[in-house]
């Protein structure tokens, strides 16, 4: 299929191929955690706590003697599911809002732009913290907070695309055939505006993983014993001098995942040749 060609091109480039391999590994960990993980993530073994990496525990154990590698593998589930769900909600809402604002203009556009520009002027972490302060901690709140924190970006990007596209002759030509707004937005404008928004969404997923880890670090995300990379790092700070691996390995997992997402996204931008369209926000 033609739509998959840019992905193939991206995978064939060196950095795209390497990052794709890491991403496949992380996704596989998240999907098949119960079969891959050598131990259960919540079995405590207090005499074996803070054990350094060994043959039996490749990444060592944490302060409760739980196998760190198993917790990191299960942690991929939390990180990826929260980030991907949140960004998906954000992309879909941003596409809808941005398309309506860009297409119809008028007071609706002014209202959307005002709110979006207001949230755009704050860092995402601040918006997320404020929202969690209002709705309370937990996995669902983190998802909602992240999706709202990134909404401004996708709304602005979509709106800019739609405003440029709606002056194309084919829009007028289709209107002259008797097409309504619905047909023009969903059959012409959104399909043409979709690619940069999807790629921006993919890149934002990397940021969302960091944001989720940050919120987890503050104890606002997944609650114990559910493993989350951020929360694991947080608990590792107390043992940083006696068991540094507790903080290092989750940190490496976050870094590897986010770097891979960014590299692959970059390769994809190159393959699709859309760098200019992403910059036009």
């Amino acid at each position: 299929m033609a739509a998959l060609d840019p992905i193939k091109t991206a995978v064939r480039s060196p950095r795209g191929g390497l990052s794709a391999a890491v991403l496949v590994l992380v996704v596989a960990c998240a999907l098949f955690a119960p079969w891959i993980a050598p131990y259960a993530y919540d079995i405590q073994n207090l005499p074996g706590s803070n054990a350094e990496p060994s043959r039996t525990h490749w990444m060592g154990t944490d302060e409760f003697g739980r196998d760190l590698m198993s917790r990191i593998i299960y942690g991929a589930r939390t990180s990826l599911s929260v980030a991907i769900t949140a960004i998906s909600i954000s992309v879909v809402s941003g596409l809808t809002l941005g398309a309506m604002a860009g297409y119809f203009g008028g007071w609706f556009d002014r209202a959307v732009t005002a709110v979006v520009d207001l949230t755009w002027s704050f860092p995402e972490i601040l918006i997320a913290l404020i929202l969690i302060a209002i709705i309370g901690p937990g996995v669902e709140s983190v998802m909602v907070a992240i999706s709202i924190a990134y909404l401004a970006q996708f709304t602005r990007l979509t709106r800019a695309q739609i405003m440029a596209l709606k002056n194309e002759t084919y829009v007028e030509a289709t209107a002259n055939l008797g097409a309504g707004h619905f047909h023009i937005i969903f059959r012409h404008l959104l399909p043409n505006a979709l690619t940069p928004v999807i790629v921006a969404g993919m890149l934002a997923t990397g940021d969302a993983i960091i944001l989720e880890a940050t919120l987890g670090f503050f104890g606002l995300g997944a609650q114990p014993p559910t493993p989350s990379w951020g929360a694991m790092m947080s608990s590792g700070t107390a043992q940083i001098f006696i068991a540094p691996w507790i903080i290092i390995f989750p940190g490496l997992a976050i870094a590897a995942t986010v770097i891979s997402i960014n590299l692959f996204g970059d390769a994809l931008i190159e393959a699709l040749d859309i760098r200019n369209r992403l910059r036009s926000v």
Binding site: Y170, L177, G178, H183, N192
Partner: protein, 327 residues
């Protein structure tokens, strides 16, 4: 003649059609209004080609969009086949669009780049809610594509794989899909090579004969208008200056004369002295109480600056808006 009479010779009748655009404005700053189309009254006779010529910015394209109600008129009416377009509901308007279609100036952006030619050709039916079986759709698309002289093998191509002329043919086929009786051609050849222009004009001429179409042909190409049109409307600053009932009729308005005279004559033995106009086109934002051309007209008098000349009939449908027409 009563424009609401469906038996009228005119398929489309424009009455006092005006469209204003405003721009600017802000804190303590007034908005400025310009009249792109200013009180245009015009009939488009059935089965004929009516040409509209004028310089860039004279309101030709705005007029085209008003005629099809792609833009709403500020004042005045468009009556199409006995129906006032402004009073039609959305549903009625959608039905009416089957009758009136448009070929656009820029074939390069007139087809969605993500659509195959086949999908673009079938879109008119989809939009109008004509359900077709796979076999019927195939037949309809093939009929359309051969009607405009393209190979049905192009059906699976994307627009970027076609040349400008081929794209314009697809644009024409799309406009004809719903079997319209009226076609607005907005500079359909302006962005094509000269050799391709001739082919497209030929095609349009043949289609007109075959399908009994009525054309409103917008152009700035004077020789093309003279060749192609049965009637020529000369516009200046949103106003109709003169309507020539036939291609051979000599213009008597000073502007129309200067415009049509600027046409290049390839035969050196028939070389002529070109009358050069002095001055510049007034700003479209300026309100001109008198004749729009008065500032540049060699025959202008006080009267021309004061009073707007009405469009008067000189006989045989030759209309002119001038206080002092040429002999």
């Amino acid at each position: 003649m009563d424009p609401s009479d469906p038996q009228s010779d005119d398929l489309v009748t424009l009455t006092d059609l005006t469209r204003e655009f405003s721009s600017g404005g802000g804190f303590m700053k007034p908005r400025r209004t310009m009249r792109a189309v200013n009180n245009v009254s015009l009939g488009v006779p059935r089965g004929k080609v009516t040409g509209v010529v004028g310089e860039s910015g004279c309101g030709k394209s705005t007029l085209a969009r008003l005629v099809l109600r792609l833009l709403e008129a500020t004042e005045g009416t468009v009556v199409f086949d006995g129906k006032n377009l402004a009073t039609q509901s959305q549903t009625e308007m959608r039905k009416l669009r089957r009758q009136m279609q448009m070929v656009f100036q820029d074939p390069y952006s007139a087809i969605d780049p993500r659509y195959t030619i086949r999908r673009a050709l079938l879109e008119p039916f989809q939009v109008q809610g004509d359900s077709k079986s796979a076999a019927e759709a195939k037949l309809a698309a093939e009929e359309l594509i051969s009607m405009v002289g393209l190979n049905p093998r192009m059906m699976a191509s994307f627009p970027h794989q076609l040349s400008g002329g081929q794209k314009q043919r697809v644009g024409i086929a799309r406009a004809l899909a719903l079997r319209p009786s009226f076609l607005v051609l907005d500079e359909p050849t302006a962005s094509l090579d000269v050799s391709i222009q001739a082919q497209i004009i030929d095609l349009l001429e043949n289609l007109k004969e075959e399908l009994g179409l009525t054309y409103l042909f917008i152009s700035h190409d004077l020789s093309l208008v003279r060749y192609f049109c049965d009637r020529v409307v000369v516009m200046y600053l949103g106003r109709v200056m003169e309507i020539l009932p036939g291609p051979g009729v000599l213009p008597r308005h000073h502007y129309a004369h200067a415009l049509l005279d600027s046409n290049f004559e390839p035969d050196p033995t028939r070389r002529k002295v070109v009358t050069m106009l002095s001055g510049e086109i007034p700003s479209p934002f300026a309100t001109i109480p008198g004749c729009a051309f008065a500032a540049r007209c060699p025959a202008a008098t006080d009267l021309c600056n004061r009073e707007r000349p009405p469009l008067a009939d000189l006989g045989d449908g030759h209309m002119i808006a001038c206080h002092h027409p040429m002999d």
